[in-house]
């Protein structure tokens, strides 16, 4: 099941579960070969990077992360991902030396980031858009036949459950109330 390998879900294509390569597509029109484990687009330098981390460390067979295509203007998401792998995050959860506008990692534990740094070798092909060249690098990585990193690391799992937990406080939001006349008031005032 794809959900077992990639618990966060998202807009990616899962190919060979035991492939050792994950491909991050920046500004590029390219479909990697079916031999890779997973590929997908990276847009934002915060939530986008978090999803990539969660959905690569969950599959220990993935040992290479290839970034290709032109970087995303303004967001600089590709360069921010490289910075994360190299430097980690500071006390404010900001990616150290990331060039992106809002490069914060807020939904993952530091342990998950350390695991990402240890499990993945990042291949920087930012700026590269030629299919043949990228295919070649992917094949080079695959030829190395790296071993599995061990147990999967599940950083986040989205569980589809139907539950109801309603209280009056949460009619719309705990900060405001609507009275029966339709007036919005701040709670407690």
């Amino acid at each position: 099941m794809i959900e077992d390998y990639y618990p966060w879900g998202g807009e990616f294509t899962a190919c060979s579960p035991k492939g050792c390569v994950a491909v991050v597509l920046l500004n590029i029109q390219y479909n990697p070969p079916e031999s890779v484990a997973i590929y997908g687009r990276l847009k934002t330098e915060n939530i986008g990077i978090e999803k990539i981390i969660a959905n690569t460390i969950s599959n220990p067979y993935i040992r290479f992360l290839i970034l290709c295509g032109d970087d995303i203007r303004g967001h600089r998401s590709g360069a921010s991902l490289l910075a994360l792998h190299k430097n980690g995050i500071d006390h404010n959860h900001r990616i150290i030396e990331a060039p992106g506008a809002i490069p914060y990692i807020e939904n993952l534990k530091e342990e998950a980031i350390k695991r990402f740094q240890a499990q993945l070798n990042v291949v920087d092909l930012i700026g590269e858009k030629e299919k043949e060249k990228i295919d070649e690098i992917i094949a080079d990585c695959a030829r190395k036949e790296p071993s599995s990193f061990g147990e999967p690391y599940i950083a986040i799992r989205i569980k589809p459950e139907a539950t109801v937990s309603l209280t009056d406080k949460r009619a719309l939001h705990s900060r405001i109330i609507f009275d029966y006349l339709g007036n919005v008031k701040k709670r407690g005032e």
Partner: protein, 300 residues
Amino acid sequence: MFSFTKEQKVFEISGISIGGQPGMYPTVLFGGLFFKGEPDFDDAKRHILTILELSKQTGTPVIPDFFIRKVEYIQPIISLIEKVLPKKHPFSIDVIEPSIKIETLERLDEEKLLSRMIYNSIHIGITKEETEALQKHTPEMALVVAFNPKDRSPDGKIEVLENSAHLIDTGLLELARKIGIEKILIDTAALSPGENSGAAIAALPVIKEEYGLPTGCAIHNVVEKSRWLNDFPFAKKTVDVASNNAIPLFGGDYAIFGPIENAEIVIPLIAWQDILISEYAENYFGVSPIASHPRRKLLK
């Protein structure tokens, strides 16, 4: 439909007013230009003339939102503003790259256009250089985006407005005021589906009651990021356009509705929605619409 207890501020820019109690001022629309591909200025001119005409017909104010992706587009976009937009019509400028933001501010100042400009946008990614450029070349109005990477709930959005969630030194509202911008529009930061996208709508009445400032968002972004809708091409445009209705219904003041190509559907749709709200708001809360409101223009 409802009314706020907190006093609601109304800000005016080049003849367009934004904010207030639901039902008084029409919802202001922002239509985006040049978000994809190379700028097509003839096409842009045609669309701008269309929105001006539809706006006149319906009473729904529409402001063009120019996306500037490259430095070389700054000058032709400024020329377009000067040539095609009426001399007293506001516009907004959306730039991601900090260096292009700064150059755009300088050029708009030289052309004396800052009094008509809405800066899109101030957020926690603001750089020192951008802050300095804004102090030197201060736009009349700015969007402040309540994006909090730590907490995407309405509370998190308030936190980032108050103290920037401690990600930068100053809260975003204080920062905007320190720069010298008093006319602040709060953007509740619509995020992708799966990232608490509904919080952008729920935050509208919460933030308006908290600050009384004009509040809105680009709920269209959520539709654009709902990839599953690509399997329903006929419905996708309808969903995109209709998503904007949620903003005035939840008390919001403006909608950044995405590609200006959708203006011909979005403008009458929002005019219709505003009439609905205004009828109730006047009958029940005693809030009368201004003279240019769609209800006054379209219901004779």
